[in-house]
């Protein structure tokens, strides 16, 4: 009995040594920064701390999930891909049917006091399923026909999310699929063909878009088209970030933020709050944290024990990277407004728990790496 406990403790200690602490530190730093920005973005004279409390609850849940997933052997998750993937699809379908509508899209599923955004969960579900299938192959997919099973896997969630409509998340699935296929060794030819096919389909999608989505895309091309209407968000975001200057106006002191000129400043535009209040130093700090974080995830991917672990990490990395690039790109006027949150920073429970769960998966892979020889 005692011997067994000692052996367990030794195993735990060995695993803890394999934990990528830089990765963890980056994650925690981003979560902390996001928490401060959310507090600043939602503070009102009546509620000086704004949504700090629910945010902390989200963080707590997320960290528990992170730790739990890190502890579970990831291979067993792979074997359970049917369950995870199936559950994702079921929730997405349910959302499309009975989901709660806000801001013109049916994205939320109400579960008593908690509302859930299944599209976020489905992102991880797809990552697990794709990683599992890719790792089952002996040779890398080379021919266009080899892509068929992956397209079949990715198709339903993309479609269901697109119907909500959540264009940004639908594109996130596509980005994850492409990145994982690339990591799996798909040659440039078929990949390019896939992208080209996607671009050819795009004009067919145009008539399916809601009018507000079309305006958003047009306004991205020319924000001054309607400075008080659809272009308002993008213009105000640029003003917020630009006016932060080098050092920022200080937390809780951004006028764009506190006077409500910045729309959705605690969710989609939380990066603009950081830009205004913490300045160039703050925004570049955030980008550097993401950069280090993503490089560490890719590092874990390359040192993973098996292909499944590698693909899992690539999936998580591409998921986070897509969100960062599109969200930050939107706030600085380099990408259209698609309503995608900034991982770890934006307010929003499901997204935060999902991204922290992704980090949990990566850590699970990390602690099960073979001994690294320095």
């Amino acid at each position: 009995m005692g011997v067994a406990v000692t052996a367990d403790l030794r195993a735990v200690r060995r695993r803890l040594r394999h934990v990528d602490w830089v990765l963890v530190a980056c994650t925690l730093a981003l979560v902390a920064l996001g928490t401060a920005a959310v507090a600043s973005a939602t503070a009102t004279p009546e509620q000086p701390l704004g949504l700090l409390r629910p945010r902390l609850a989200h963080v707590a849940v997320g960290l528990v999930v992170l730790a739990g997933l890190a502890a579970v052997p990831y291979q067993s998750l792979g074997e359970a891909w049917k369950l995870l993937y199936g559950l994702s699809l079921a929730l997405l379908a349910l959302t499309d049917l009975v989901g709660r509508t806000a801001l013109g899209a049916q994205r939320w599923l109400a579960l008593g006091p908690v509302s859930l955004q299944p599209s976020e969960l489905a992102k991880l579900g797809l990552v697990v399923a794709l990683a599992w299938f890719l790792s089952r192959r002996k040779d890398p997919p080379t021919r266009f026909a080899d892509l068929f099973p992956y397209l079949v896997l990715a198709g339903p969630p993309v479609l269901l999310v697109f119907l909500q409509p959540d264009l940004g998340s639908a594109l996130a699935f596509v980005a994850v699929l492409l990145a994982m296929l690339w990591a799996a060794g798909l040659p440039r030819g078929p990949l390019a063909a896939l992208v080209a096919a996607g671009l050819l389909v795009a004009p067919l999608v145009w008539p399916l878009l809601k009018p507000y989505q079309r305006t958003r895309l047009l306004v991205f091309l020319n924000p001054s088209l309607d400075p008080l209407g659809a272009g308002y968000n993008l213009i105000q975001s640029k003003i917020a970030i630009g006016s932060g200057g080098l050092w920022g106006k200080g937390l809780f002191a951004g006028t764009q933020n506190t006077l409500q000129f910045l729309p959705m400043q605690h969710t989609d535009f939380v990066f603009s709050v950081i830009g205004e209040e913490l300045g160039f130093v703050g925004t570049v700090g955030v980008l550097l944290l993401f950069w280090v974080f993503l490089l560490r995830v890719l590092q874990v991917a390359s040192s993973a024990r098996d292909a499944f672990g590698s693909y899992l990490c690539v999936g998580v990395a591409s998921l986070v990277a897509f969100h960062v690039l599109v969200n930050v790109g939107m706030t600085v006027g380099l990408a259209p407004a698609t309503g995608i949150p900034l991982p770890f920073l934006s307010y929003g429970g499901t997204a935060l728990v999902t991204h922290l769960a992704g980090v949990g998966l990566v850590l699970s892979v990390a602690v099960r790496r073979p001994k690294i020889l320095f």
Binding site: W182, L228, I241, G242, S243, G245, T255, Q256, F280, A301
Partner: protein, 594 residues
């Protein structure tokens, strides 16, 4: 049984890392551009967002007559504007606003459309709304976001149509004017002087608007006042007008089309300037309605025209002052020269006929009787060039420079002018016509007043002027205007004396007896100017007292038939009013004798 990791995984991961690094670097550079390179620009935009600068309209300066009678003042009032920046729901707010304020919806939409390019500048919708409208708007503040009510004084002209052409009126600054005036603090929707001294002294009268800098949130709710800078009312303009004389002139002209100018020949100060028919400048103060404006423009009697300065007509016999002076100065006539008037003059194939035969007349009598034959003879001797030279030396053919906008120069014709305008050579008959102020000669009453002033004051051409002084809002004298001498006419004293004797005879025993005033020696000249457009214009131009002239009066009655009949009595009324004023002034030395 672990599947092998694909062999190319490391290179693929490296390429992903590189792509990621490039993408993040692009974002970093963009942030450098936005935050460091353009930081100041965006900081300014952020301030524009949160700072509302409310302009508190400063009252325009008052306009007084020489005795301090207020001619133009202000009355507190409220204006309604929209702020396009905050008007997020025009489709709901504008129809509602149109209903409450009582203006057509289309007008509101077009104003809003025009204001959209400068969303931070309020667009005036209506001036001088009643207190009931103000209360109704204030009650619905929340519903009518983007609508503002602000205190803005309204210009008042208490005497209505009197001296309207001198005082002028206000109008909203036009887009073209704004282009030039924006650097000097003018903003869209500002009222500026569009005519009269309101226009020529706009910068004097205009005050500096006060500024309230208020921080607002995105909903436009004011949060705190950051800066409060009081405005400064405009300066007061004191005119040289004598309101007693002005009102007399207005009264006399009633029913006629015409003009009166009274002026101090020693200083050029305009004591009265009336033009009839007139208009009510109050109609412009709150923005004139389209209908009213069209009515004024269509009126064939042209009430907006200042007939004293902006319309040149044939002077008729008044011009004989020029011909007479030229003949005397050139030695072609003396006080004792004799002329035989048979009632007509033959010139080649043509015979020029006068109304009557005066028989043998000396120069003085010829002037007194306005004998055309005598002046034809003089004109023939002098020739057109010399006539034109004298006319120009007396200031005809060029604007007087009176401090009013849109003055016209009139016409002093010569061969070149006739060839250029009428494509005809100069005939000797033209010279005869010119000698009696007919033909192509066109003058304005203010020009006649200036020329006669030179005769009256011994040969000094003075610039007619309406402004007398500028006072600060507190009443301190900021600036006084001194006489501007435009030229000295080197006429021999004997020539001037002979001419003046003739002009005295006009009133004593000649055509201008209707201008006689008891207790005041009046000199002058009548004129009946043939015009192609109807009955002759009636003129009288005179000065008094003849021995020491202190006032020049010029009266033009369009289609008044004969100067002696319709114009001279008007001059008489004004001069006797002036005489009364002088007597009163001697008793109590007031403003006038300063």
């Amino acid at each position: 049984m672990q599947p092998e990791k694909p062999v190319h995984l490391p290179t693929r991961l490296t390429s992903l890392a590189v792509a990621l690094t490039v993408a993040l670097t692009v974002l970093g550079l963009r942030l450098w551009q936005l935050q460091v390179l353009q930081g100041d620009y965006y900081a300014q935009l952020a301030d524009t967002n949160r700072l509302r600068i409310h302009h508190v309209a400063a009252p325009r300066g008052l306009i007084l007559d020489r005795r301090g009678t207020p001619l133009v003042l202000n009355r507190p009032a409220f204006s309604v504007s929209i702020l396009p920046m905050e008007l997020r729901e025009p489709a709901r707010v504008l129809p509602e606003l149109a209903r409450v304020v009582g203006i057509p919806q289309e007008e509101l939409w077009s104003r809003w459309e025009r204001g959209r390019s400068r969303p931070f500048e309020p667009v005036r919708v209506r001036r001088d709304v009643g207190i009931r409208v103000v209360t109704r708007l204030e009650e619905r503040r929340e519903e009518l976001r983007g609508v503002q009510v602000e205190a803005e004084p309204v210009r008042v002209y208490p005497f209505g149509t009197a001296a309207a052409h001198v005082l002028g009126y206000l109008g909203e600054v036009s887009a073209d004017e704004l282009e030039a005036l924006r650097p000097r603090g003018y903003r869209a929707g500002d009222l500026i002087g569009k005519a009269g001294v309101e226009r020529s002294y706009d910068t004097v009268l205009r005050g500096d608007d006060g500024e309230h800098v208020v921080e607002v949130d995105a909903a436009g709710r004011p949060l705190r006042v950051l800066r409060e800078q009081p405005g400064r009312p405009g300066n007061t303009l004191v005119l040289s007008l004598d309101w007693e004389l002005q009102q007399e002139a207005e009264r006399q002209l009633r029913g006629w089309s015409g003009a009166v100018v009274a002026m101090d020949p020693r200083t050029g100060e305009v004591l009265a300037m009336a033009s009839s028919p007139s208009f009510d400048p109050n109609a412009f103060s709150v923005g004139i309605s389209e209908r009213e404006w069209r009515r004024l423009l269509r009126d064939r009697r042209n009430p907006l025209l200042n007939r004293a300065t902006a319309a040149a007509v044939e002077p008729g016999s008044v011009f004989k002052v020029v011909t007479g002076l030229a003949a005397l100065q050139e030695g072609r006539a003396g006080p004792a020269s004799q002329f035989v008037c048979t009632g007509s003059l033959r010139l080649g194939r043509w015979v020029f006929r006068d109304l009557q035969a005066h028989g043998v007349v000396d120069f003085t009598t010829g002037v007194a009787q306005s004998c055309n034959v005598m002046f034809w003879m003089l004109g023939r001797i002098l020739g057109p060039d010399r006539l034109a030279t004298y006319a120009r030396r007396l200031g005809f053919g060029q604007p007087t420079g009176v401090d009013l906008p849109l003055e016209v120069p009139g016409v002093i014709p010569d061969a070149q002018y006739k060839q250029g305008t009428w494509r005809e050579p100069w005939y000797p008959g033209d010279t005869l016509n010119m000698a009696i102020g007919q033909g192509f000669v066109l003058v304005t009453p203010i020009q006649v007043a200036r020329a006669l002033s030179a005769v009256a004051n011994g040969g000094t051409l003075v610039q007619p002027r309406l402004a007398r002084a500028v006072l600060s809002p507190g009443g301190q004298v900021v600036r006084t205007f001194s006489p501007v001498v435009q030229g000295r006419l080197e006429f021999s004293p004997s020539a001037l004396r002979a001419l003046r004797r003739g002009l005295e005879a006009v009133v004593e025993r000649g055509t201008g007896q209707a201008a006689r005033v008891e207790g005041l020696r009046v000199a002058g000249k009548t004129g009946s100017a043939e015009t192609p457009r109807g009955r002759p214009h009636a003129w009288f131009a005179g000065y008094a007292p003849a021995e020491d002239p202190r006032i020049v009066v010029v009266v033009l009655v369009e289609h008044g038939y004969r100067g002696g009949l319709s114009a001279a009595p008007i001059a008489r009324a004004i001069l006797s009013r002036w005489r009364d004023g002088q007597r009163a002034g001697q008793r109590e030395a007031g403003w006038a004798s300063r």
